[in-house]
């Protein structure tokens, strides 16, 4: 889907913290206030709420409205984990186009703490809780260790290539005061980091943390001058490929062609990528499936490009989840807020020169062996 008239007119991020000092709603309120400020709007303007969070239930978009003292006429809640925020924005754009809302606040985040992790077994979906957790599967690390090894053995992908994702994103985080991990990382440090779930080591993993992200979806003519961002293509796909347990591909390959047709341009015409980075191996799979290089050739592709904000293919220009920390479902929105920030020319010390078009992709909802949901969105600055 695309829209000429409705898009993103505000964005915001809360502070990120290793130990939660407020509730999930508290972090969402911080992000929401920043998003409203960037749009030049007040809470009274909001008449739609859309949220993606794996940690919010049994609360939801409606109880958020109560918490925030809002009276929306449209709400929605995502069920696609880290692919959810892209989908929330798609839904919000269509809600505004159809007249069901005029200004939607999209939220995602978490306030993860020790109690949350003790209880996490009760938050898994049933295929994970019943058929993976009883084996001692090591959270998601074990599952993605299986996928990473398979990619390495199938295509000859080397850790030296995948490590460039973690290393260059860390360099990007050096220009982001909101990132929890900003200390420069060398490739040697990545390669020799402590083993977590071989072949996955420490710097293949995200740091769970507390924080939130927010976006404002509204008619583009309400954007402040030069600050609107248009959605020129967007798509989602779930449970592809059907029946595989540890696939080396995902839903992106099913919609790639139509996605670029809809946008009217291809991967060679974007100035940056914000990909869902729960693990470098999944960033690699997204880059392949979205057509930046053929399947299996990610190793050489990564070796040939700089992924830094000032490189020839900027990736996760704020540091991504790998350096900022993973705020639960907020990991699915951090790439969208960073894309909007860049397209508005507000990237500060990490501003990508000439950023007019950027690709965001989402991934999540781990089921029996892998993430079931894939999404992507092409964004363009309104001239």
């Amino acid at each position: 889907m695309r829209s000429e008239t409705v898009g993103l007119i505000g964005y915001g991020s809360s502070v990120y913290e290793k130990t939660a000092t407020r509730s999930e709603q508290g972090y969402m309120a911080l992000a929401a206030r920043a998003a409203l400020d960037s749009a030049g709007l007040s809470p009274r303007d909001i008449d739609g709420i859309s949220v993606s969070s794996t940690t919010l239930p049994p609360d939801n978009a409606v109880t958020l409205a109560e918490h925030f003292g809002l009276s929306p006429r449209w709400t929605s809640m995502g069920n696609a984990g880290g692919a959810g925020s892209v989908i929330n924005v798609m839904d919000a754009v269509q809600a505004v186009e159809s007249g069901r809302a005029s200004c939607v606040l999209c939220l995602a985040g978490a306030a993860q703490d020790t109690e949350f992790f003790k209880d996490r077994i009760n938050r898994f979906n049933r295929s994970v809780a019943d058929y993976l957790a009883p084996h001692g599967f090591g959270g998601m690390n074990g599952l993605f260790g299986i996928i990473m090894r398979k990619h390495m053995e199938t295509y000859g992908t080397r850790r030296e290539s995948l490590g460039r994702i973690s290393v260059d994103q860390r360099a990007n985080a050096g220009q982001n005061d909101n990132a929890l991990l900003r200390k420069p990382m060398t490739l040697e440090e990545y390669l020799n980091a402590p083993l977590i779930a071989d072949p996955i080591r420490l710097f293949d993993c995200v740091l769970p943390c507390a924080g939130a992200e927010a976006l404002i979806v509204a008619p583009l003519d309400r954007a402040q001058p030069g600050k609107g961002v248009r959605v020129v293509a967007a798509a989602e796909r779930h449970n592809h490929p059907v029946g595989e347990v540890s696939p080396l591909r995902g839903g992106w390959e099913t919609f790639r062609e139509g996605f670029y047709d809809e946008a009217g341009f291809g991967p060679e015409d974007v100035q940056f990528i914000q990909a869902y980075d729960d693990y470098p191996i999944m960033v690699a799979v997204q880059i392949e499936d979205l057509g930046f290089c053929p399947k299996g050739e990610i190793g050489g592709f990564l070796d040939a490009h700089s992924l830094r904000w000032d490189g020839d293919l900027p990736l996760n220009t704020g540091g991504g989840q790998l350096s900022c920390g993973q705020t639960g479902g907020g990991g699915g929105m951090i790439g969208i807020t960073e894309a909007v920030r860049q397209l508005r020319g507000e990237g500060g010390g990490r501003q990508v020169p000439g950023a007019r078009r950027g690709l965001v992709s989402g991934y999540g909802m781990v089921g029996y062996g892998h993430g079931l949901s894939a999404s992507a969105m092409m964004l363009e600055a309104v001239a």
Partner: protein, 140 residues
């Protein structure tokens, strides 16, 4: 050996009860097989995901397979598994062609490679585990 009560439990459902019982009582991997299209299924489901037939029967798997890929999990495990770490977690292709993720018991994970043959644990050891669990072929 009996089921280690510290392992996270599998919720018993009408769909999975025969599979859980076959493993605990006989050390047998029981697979659903679709009455309509013949597909083997794991994990157990209410409908065949290939053809949506609602009637499925059960067939015992021969219990052997091969490691497609694997991870050796050292950290981030619940306490009960940390005491047994590292845990070898593998994608396994059973001889029947079914893919599953399962634990492979192995004293020396460093010598494991993808493609190695595995076999279901013998009954005496199987009882300790809530789900089908394997060892390297020829081990024990």
């Amino acid at each position: 050996m009996s089921l280690n009560p510290a392992y996270p439990p599998v919720r018993r459902t009408p769909e999975n009860a025969p599979m859980l019982d076959a493993w605990q009582q006989r050390g047998e991997i029981l697979l659903q097989r679709c009455d309509s299209c013949g597909a083997h299924l794991f994990y157990p489901r209410a409908v065949c995901p290939s053809c949506w037939a609602e009637t499925t029967g059960w067939v015992p798997a021969c219990g052997t397979g091969r490691i497609v890929s694997f991870s050796v999990v050292h950290k981030g495990l619940p306490d009960v598994f940390m005491a047994e770490a590292p845990i070898l977690l593998a994608e396994i292709e059973l001889a029947e062609g079914v893919l599953m993720i399962a634990r492979v018991l192995c004293a020396d994970p460093g010598r494991v490679t993808s493609g190695m043959a595995v076999a279901a644990l013998p009954l005496a050891e199987a009882r300790a585990f809530p789900l089908p669990t394997f060892r390297l072929e020829g081990a024990g």
